[in-house]
Structure formats: C-alpha cells, structure tokens
C-alpha cells in the first residue's frame, strides 16, 4: 500500500477520518459478481457483524447496507417509517437536525422542531411536554451533531418517550456517533439508528448503514401508502438484506463489493476488541483534547461537559483569529481540521474530529500532533492566552 497510503496530512475532520491500511487495501479487492458465493458470504457476514456493533441480539432487528451516504438514511426513515400528513418531532442540536426535518418534509411528513440553544440541546421537560401535546409517529434525534459536537442522551430520551408516548418510534442519526459513542440498541429500546461508513466505523465514504427494530419494521409493514422512495424503499431492500444475511444471492440494485469488503475489514477490526474498551478509549482521548483546548483558553461550542461528544470537538476561535488563517497554518503542519458548518456561527469556529484509528491505534501520533499544531498555529496568528 506504499503508493496510496504514503505520506499525507492527518485528516482530523469529523469525517471522513483516517483509514487503516488493511481497510484501504480491501477497497482494491478484485472484481467479483454481486451475486456470486464469495461476495454473498462477505456481505452476509458484514450484515451480521452490524448486529454486534449496534448491540442487538433481537432477531427481528433489521440491518441495511446501501450504496449512498449518511443522508440516504434520512430518506430511508422519512419514506418508509412515517406517512404523508403524520407528525414527527425533530430534536435539533445543529445543522443535521434541521436537514433531517427538510428530508421528512420532502416525503410529506410534518416535522415539529425542538431546538436547543447553540451548543446545547432540547431538555427532557420540553420534549415530554411536546410529546404529550400531539401524537407523534416518530421522534428523531441527532446523537452527535457534526456541526456542533453536541451529544444527545439517547438512553434518557427513549425512557422519556416511553413514559409519555410509548407508541412513538425513536430514531437516532448516529452518523457521527456509531462506533465511538456507546449505543445499546436493544437495552435502550431504540427503533432505528442510521449512520455512514466514513466516520468512527473507519471505512471510506459511500455506504449508508442502518439498524431498525422489529417494531420499526412492523410499522413499515403496516403502512397504508406505498414507500415514498424507490431507491430508499424498505420494500425493495428488506428481502435483499435478509437473503444476503442468509447467504443467498439476491438482486434489487447492484451493491459495491469493494466498499462492502472494506466495511467487513473495518468491522472485524472493531469487533476484535470489546466495544466497551473502544468507547472508553474515545472518551479518554476526547477528555484529554477538551482539557488541552480549555487550557489553551479556548471555548468549546458544546457548552456543558455532559453535552460534549467524544467523537469531535467544535472549538470557537479566539477573537481576531480567522478560519482562513488558522486552517492553512494547521495544514502546513500536516493536520487537517474542518471549518464551521452551523449557519449562525460558521465563521467563528473550527472542528476537530477524533475518531477511529487516530484514537485507537497506538502507532499513530495524530492527536498529539494536532494539539501541538493547533497551539503553534494560534500563536502564529498572534493569539496568546489571556
């Protein structure tokens, strides 16, 4: 892999992340038939491994792996689990909650948005109040909003929903959380988690990955109207996923054998160690990063410690320091951070992703290098801690 993985800057944006060599090597697997026994076995095994990753042993849970991106997961939810005219409660902690609401609207659902303050999240009393005032088919929540780094309390949310409106499905956008923040799908009683390949799972972008509960699948089966999407139709894909997992060839649309091989490799690496150890490691490294950033005198966008994700850190720039100055300075030191994304504060902050091999691989020095580069770059921009 020398030529492709050769010296390159450390990609520390909140996805795509740095990928392991073996995962990238799987991307160049020789061409296989999408319905041949070799690939069918690989795809089936990959679907089964998702059950372990999401910590679900309920056989009624249904995994999906589709060519697409994290965004396609919103279509999967909006076109299959809710019908035109039905209400959805959208808990928004940034850009991605707002966009999920747009997607629901596209397919005819009626989203009601509950927004936290910038850097915060809607609180349980207001969520419970909203749920008691109207009948919601589903609640959506962004587990970690990639625009703000705010993490939501999924376990507490499901408990709140079950208390006030037990029929309401709870759907989490786990694009920036799956494989770095704990998700106990069965124990917590989640109905759906959608995610993508290129963040903490550590496989190149190009796959929409999701898990739905037996209850969510029943809700789909009981629809009065047909699914509102063709490419993202659970009617078209459910038998395909079930057949592949049973190691039987099946066809609706051609999957990407190379991406599925890479996902297979990434999941095997993740599942080779206890998940609890992985979550703990992400927490430790995140805590260290947050302390270093606070020690530098910088403010974190996610205000309260309990709202701060372990996947990434959104950092306000000091007064007078511009994104257009600091990102190139970081780049010249071999570190790539992302600019702001939340519309209201986009020019005022930068984002540091700390997921996957950059956190778990002891042979990498990505995080320390990034913290050093940040300190030096800010100094070069004229910043000194007050």
């Amino acid at each position: 892999m020398m030529s492709t993985q050769a010296a390159h800057p450390a990609l520390l944006i909140p996805g795509p992340i740095e990928f392991d060599d073996a995962v990238l090597q799987s991307m160049s697997h020789f061409s296989e038939s999408h319905v041949g026994p070799g690939f069918v076995a690989t795809f089936g095994e990959t679907l089964s491994m998702l059950r372990q990753l999401f910590q679900t042993t309920d056989p009624a849970s249904q995994p999906f792996i589709l060519s697409g991106s994290g965004t396609l997961g919103w279509d999967l939810v909006s076109a299959n689990l809710i019908e035109p005219g039905e209400d959805a409660l959208v808990l928004s902690t940034g850009y991605f909650g707002d966009s999920f609401a747009d997607c629901l609207t596209t397919y005819g659902a009626k989203p009601t948005k509950l927004e936290g303050p910038i850097g915060g999240r809607p609180q349980f009393p207001e969520i419970e109040k909203a749920l008691s005032e109207k009948k919601y088919k589903l609640v959506t929540v962004t587990h970690v909003d990639t625009s703000t780094g705010v993490v939501s309390d999924l376990k507490g949310l499901v408990q709140a929903v079950k208390k006030v409106s037990p029929e309401t499905l709870v759907i989490a956008d786990g694009v920036c959380s799956v494989a770095c923040e704990e998700i106990a799908f069965d124990d917590w009683g989640l109905d759906g988690v959608i995610t993508a390949s290129q963040k903490a799972i550590g496989c190149p972008a190009g796959l929409s990955i999701s898990m739905f509960s037996g209850r969510a699948m029943e809700t789909f089966k009981n629809r009065k109207s047909p699914p509102a999407s063709y490419f993202a139709s659970m009617k078209n894909w459910t038998p395909i996923m079930q057949n592949y997992e049973a190691k039987k060839p099946s066809y609706f649309a051609t999957p990407s054998p190379q991406l599925v091989h890479a996902l297979n490799t990434a999941l095997k690496q993740i599942l080779a160690r206890p998940l609890s150890e992985r979550f703990q490691k992400h927490k430790e490294v995140s805590d260290k990063i947050k302390k270093a950033i606070t020690d530098l005198g910088l403010k974190i966008v996610a205000t309260k410690p309990e709202d701060q994700s372990h996947a990434m850190t959104a950092i306000y720039l000091p007064e007078g320091v511009q994104i257009a100055d600091v990102l190139p300075k970081l780049g010249s030191k071999g570190v790539i951070f992302a600019g702001g994304l939340h519309k209201a504060i986009a020019t005022k902050y930068i984002r540091f992703g700390h997921m996957g091999v950059s956190v778990t691989d002891p042979n990498r020095n990505d995080v320390d290098k990034a913290l050093d580069a940040l300190k030096t770059s800010l100094a070069e921009c004229g910043y000194t801690k007050a």
Copy 2:
C-alpha cells in the same frame, strides 16, 4: 496490487466487469477531506471528463456523480423531471424497462409501457402512434437492457420523438451502454442519460453517473411541485456539482473520495484514446462473440442483428442443458457468466458481458478463454451441435 488483484476468475457478467489495476489502486487512495482542494480538483476534473465521455460541449448540460447505483438514476429522473400525475412513455426491452416504470410510479408519474417481444424492441410506428395519442412529459428507453442484451436505436428514437412530440424529453438508461455503445448526447439531441460506474466505464460499483441537457434542467427548474426525493433531489445536488466542477468546495452529502478517484482514473484511461476506436473495438469483439455462439449452434436472445448490443450477449441454453450445470462448469475453467434475469425466460439462458478491459486490453485473454470454456462446458453437459 499483487495481493488484491491476484489470480481470480475472469468476471464476464454484464457488470460489475473486470477492472484495471490502476483503477483498483485508486480505490485505496489515502483519506482526503471531501471539501479539501485536492479532492475538489479531482472531483471537478471527473465531472468535466464526463462531458467528453457523453460527447456534449453544450455548457448547459449538467453532469451528476452521486454515491448510489444505476438504480438511483431512475429516482433522479422520476423525482425531478416529471411531476405527480404527468405521463411517461416507457419503452421496455426487458427487466430494466419494467423497473424504471415502477420507479416512475413511486413518485406519482403515470407510466405507459410499450414492450417489444422478448428479444426485440418496440418499433417506431407504434412509438409515434403512442406519442401522437397522448401528451407525454418524457419518454424513457433502456439503451441496452442487461436482462436481454437488446440495444435500442437512441438516435432514431430522438428523431421520431422530435417529429411527433418535440416537447417530450428523451431519457436513456445507459447503465449497460455508456462507454461501449456510441452516445452522441448533443448531436442526437438527448435530454438525459443515466448510468453506473461498474459496467463499461470500468470503475467499481457505488456511483450513479448521469448527464442531463439544458432543456431537462429547465424542465426541472420550472417544476410546480418540489422534488419528490431528498437524497436524489436535483435542487440539493445541482449547485454542489456546479461548485465542484468550478473547483469550489461545496457540501450537501459526503461523496466517496475513493470511488471518485477510481472513476477519475477510469475516465482518463478511456479518454486517452478516441472514443470511436473504443466503440469500434467493442463492436468487433461483440461480432466475433456472436459469430462463435451462432457457430456453436446456439440462439441469441436478441433476435435481430440490429437489436443485438455490443456490451453483452444473452444466450439461450440448448435443450436439456441446465444453468445450474453450465455455470459451475464455466467457473471451474475460470470464467464467470451470469444466469438469466428476464422473468419470462430466466431459467433458459445465460448472459456473457464483454465490456471494458476484457475487450480493450490486448494483454488480456478473457474473451477467447470464455468462448473456449463455453464450448467445453457445453460439451461436458452432453451438448453437441445438431
């Protein structure tokens, strides 16, 4: 690339096809930001190369590259270029025409299907008659139907439509034709061609690739209703594609840098030689294959020579020879063909794809090996030419 591309059977199904080593190597490109200057330049160049591949110089033409599959192209057409209640004329030459009609129905359009006999295609007089009887927003045609190997006459079709119903958009499903059958987008007056990466373009599966005319884009802009899909919305994607092509970063949903790198490599290989030479080579090899198959006493599903595509050959098995016998015998000789897909004749035929490097790379012996393996395998099944 030794480890990944090592000895493996020749994949001669009608997609995914065999991939060139350099293309597969691009799949394992190190991780890049989807909005960083390196990847933005690669994506922009790739979009521009699509204009050459489709032979369009009209700046109003709009290319799209989305994570997905060929099927997603149907959603792109059905959710953006036609509105609920409007009529579409679907010319069907097999499985894929039927499925395009299902996709149109999902988004509220009203497809009217014109089907050819199995192995044939609807004729111009009946197409013109249909167009004169009702106002159709668009006509769809499968350029090469992967289930039958029937090729349609795109140039003649556009002429017929322009004569009878000039406002009607002509949309071709080029999944099994782009980069092996000629498509002169501007000269012929096409309004849309949708395709995928894993067939004659020669890049692993995972991308929906398409080109729409200025007229199609105007039709989209003049919609009365909003786009009926979120992930496949031209409203969401058009500015992103235009920004990338202008080498400006832009974000709606995360693209797959690795797949786009591989597509970039594949397109550079294709465009390094005149396209006419590439089409001619596919024709020559296809003619040779069809002659060999006829010489063996076998029947081709596409009945008339002018209906036979140069991308693939669907071959009826001789009386008494079973798919379940012949495919494993081919496999043991290092050749993978596909089984039947057209529901009415699925158990009676096999499919031989002859696209891309298996046809154009003089260092490969895939086609001759396949013809030898077919002859020997049929003999082992007890078949002798009558």
